[in-house]
């Protein structure tokens, strides 16, 4: 005998049961909504500041990808240089993922102003090209950005300038070694002061133009870094793989931004783990709540379920009905919660959440004191998946319990 009572009938029964217990359904829905909304919001905040941090980090200095001569990142020695950067730069126009690139020379040195001196990271870059890769030019707080052709221009990080007591137009003497090891020094004029917000940069940066530096260091066309900015963070991996294919790993090292600053990577990993823990805790709470509701509801309806089985309902249909109830509760709640969070995210996306009052702690990690929440597809999927798993777990157990109901026992309940 085939029953015509299709799935729809049991969905309808589930819906009616939920409506009958209006108060319990409402409370459970609110819990669900609150849980999922909280989860989504926290996740959006997390994603927002992570993405912000990545952007800040990448824009302030490193770019998405750097190509060095093999061993340079470890040795920081000018002898490990790329002698023929044109061999690489011809790729730059062929990949649409690249929106900007520049060449740099990085080396350590000493800066002195009228008697006081301090260690600096000398960085030489192309004044034009650099603006396509990082936002250093916009971080010039006093003075001007490097001017093309003006090879005596120098920009200093804010802290360096403070430590030296240097003012605009001051003569600053830079001292360093050529690749040959010969010590050299040269006079520059302070044209601007840069404040990136990243302390290790502001504390050490001495920026000059690439052309002048190549002459001063007698390096001809050679550079130490080729720095690439991708259109989007997610394209870093693609570009990385492209360059790994094209360039010999005997000669070059190709480093994505995560590798260029292990601290940042650790921080990002930590923050991912932290996100997972929040996900886990919220889902656990929600699951407990739904499970509790379903078990109470099952207990209250034992007699009715007993009657349904007695008059000929196959237990697996009872299973379906109860499972629908739980899944419906969870999904309606989750969707509502998600929509609320989405609304809040949209409202806050532009203005952001201003944490200026607590900002001291944030400055350290390339963070703006204003967080712009942002929902990524990844976290949306994660939340969706977790909700689904929770729905099934919280639904299956009570539904399974119902199929094990002793009918005769249930019928004795008055």
């Amino acid at each position: 005998m085939v029953s015509r009572l299709g799935i729809l009938t049991y969905v309808a029964l589930a819906v009616r049961n939920l409506i009958r217990n209006r108060r319990r359904t409402t409370i459970t829905l609110l819990t669900m909504m609150f849980g999922i909304a909280t989860l989504t919001l926290l996740s959006a905040l997390n994603d927002g500041w992570l993405s912000q941090m990545k952007t800040n980090f990448i824009l302030s200095f490193t770019g998405h990808l750097q190509i060095h001569a093999k061993g340079f990142e470890a040795s920081q020695n000018l002898r490990d240089n790329i002698a023929d950067p044109d061999a690489i730069s011809r790729y730059m126009d062929t990949y649409p993922e690249i929106i900007g690139w520049t060449q740099r020379i990085r080396t350590s040195g000493l800066a002195s102003v009228s008697g006081s001196s301090t260690g600096v990271q000398i960085m030489a870059t192309d004044p034009e090209q650099e603006t396509w890769v990082t936002s250093m030019d916009q971080n010039v707080k006093t003075g001007v950005w490097l001017r093309p052709g003006m090879n005596k221009d120098l920009l200093l990080g804010k802290t360096v300038a403070q430590n030296l007591g240097a003012k605009l137009s001051d003569r600053v003497i830079l001292m360093t070694q050529r690749p040959s090891g010969e010590m050299i020094s040269e006079v520059y004029y302070l044209r601007g002061i840069i404040e990136t917000g990243a302390p290790q940069i502001d504390r050490t940066l001495a920026l000059i133009s690439l052309d002048g530096a190549q002459q001063w260091l007698q390096m001809q066309q050679a550079v130490t870094d080729i720095v690439i900015r991708a259109d989007h963070h997610d394209q870093t991996d693609t570009l990385y793989r492209l360059f790994v294919q094209q360039l010999s790993e005997q000669v070059y090292e190709i480093m994505p931004w995560q590798e260029l600053d292990p601290m940042v990577r650790q921080w990002l990993e930590f923050s991912d783990a932290y996100g997972l823990i929040i996900l886990f805790v919220v889902i656990l709470l929600v699951l407990t709540e739904i499970l509790n509701t379903m078990l109470i509801s099952l207990h209250e309806r034992q007699k009715e379920l007993g009657v349904m089985i007695a008059i000929g309902t196959q237990p697996h249909r009872i299973f379906l009905m109860l499972l629908f109830e739980a899944v419906l509760l969870i999904f309606v709640g989750a969707v509502l919660g998600y929509l609320i969070a989405l609304l809040v995210v949209m409202l806050l996306a532009d203005s952001g959440i201003d944490l200026t009052d607590y900002a001291n702690a944030f400055e350290f990690f390339y963070m703006d004191p204003v967080i712009h929440p942002q929902l990524t597809r990844d976290s949306a999927l994660k939340i969706l998946l977790a909700t689904l798993v929770a729905a099934l777990l919280a639904g299956i157990y009570p539904a399974w319990k119902a199929t094990r109901l002793s009918v005769s026992q249930a019928l004795r309940i008055q």
């Binding site: 005998m1 085939v2 029953s3 015509r4 009572l5 009938t9 029964l13 009616r16 049961n17 409506i19 009958r20 007699k303 009715e304 009657v307 349904m308 089985i309 007695a310 008059i311 000929g312 309902t313 196959q314 237990p315 009918v407 005769s408 019928l411 004795r412 008055q414």
Partner: protein, 278 residues
């Protein structure tokens, strides 16, 4: 299935049923022999705790037994698997319970139609059948009400309509009037009696309501799990606990407990055994 001229609907032989309360066995049915024929209106009477519900539940395939046979329409319902039993109930047996018979979120006619739909009829047809049977039980005008908008007596009528809607060979009713006042109860019984006569459906009703007993075409008296001929009949010779309550049928949880606390439970069992059979 049974031909019309075969008149035995229920045939119960040597039926034993034992309940376990903790580690203590409690025999509820001690060897029941019973035969019910087509068209009978049988009332099962007995004090509270005499085993009426147990007997009905076993006959209806809602409960297992420890020993014996329960042939319904020639098939031993005790030998069927769970799902087969459910199908068998749907096809052949109508149930009316003491109270709270109905699915609370469905209207009266949806409750009746539900079983027809379970049988594979279309929703439309099922609702028509439901209307018909609600008229038969004289509450055709209340079809759109939900159970909580009906009186106890009306609810029981809906339950009777539902039991009949599948056109079963037999209706098992466990104290259908116990929650009703005597007039309402009497009306319900008269209704069932009338349906029994007009449709020929066999009824097996348990009750301690005198009105129900009067309506019976046959009265079966149940006392302490035995069928007796009169209420003051001598107690039957004791039945061995080992027969009614074989240890192997003890629920698994109880067996575990027994395994971990063998001394105490063994003592208790001895005490229980002697007090029961001396």
């Amino acid at each position: 299935m049974l031909e019309d001229n075969q008149s035995t609907i229920i045939q119960i032989q040597d039926l034993h049923k034992c309940y376990w309360v903790g580690t203590m066995p409690y025999p509820a049915l001690n060897g029941i022999d019973l035969e019910i024929h087509k068209g009978e209106f049988v009332v099962l009477a007995g004090r509270s705790g005499s085993g009426k519900s147990t007997l009905l539940n076993i006959a209806g395939g809602l409960e297992s037994a420890d020993r014996g046979e329960a042939r319904i329409l020639g098939e031993d319902i005790l030998k069927m698997g769970n799902s087969q039993r459910t199908g068998f109930r749907l096809a052949n047996i109508g149930f009316v319970f003491q109270a709270y018979n109905l699915i609370r979120v469905l209207s009266a006619r949806e409750n009746v139609a539900y079983v027809c739909q379970l049988q594979g009829k279309s929703k439309q047809e099922s609702l028509e059948i439901a209307n018909h049977w609600l008229h038969e039980v004289e509450i055709g005008h209340l079809g759109y009400r939900r159970p909580d908008q009906l009186s106890g007596g009306q609810q029981q009528r809906v339950a009777v309509a539902r039991a009949l809607a599948t056109e079963p060979k037999i209706i098992l009713a466990d104290e259908p009037t116990a929650n009703l006042d005597s007039t309402t109860g009497r009306h319900l019984i008269e209704l069932m009696q009338r349906l029994n006569q007009s449709l020929g459906t066999t009824f097996l009703i348990s009750s301690h309501d005198p009105d129900v007993k009067q309506a019976a075409s046959r009265l079966i008296k149940l006392s302490d799990g035995f069928i007796v001929n009169s209420w003051d009949e001598e107690t039957k010779p004791p039945v061995s606990l080992a027969v009614t309550c074989p240890i192997r049928n003890r629920p698994f949880g109880e067996r575990l407990r027994h395994f971990f606390k063998p001394h105490r439970t063994a003592d208790q069992q001895k005490k229980q055994g002697t007090s029961r059979h001396s």
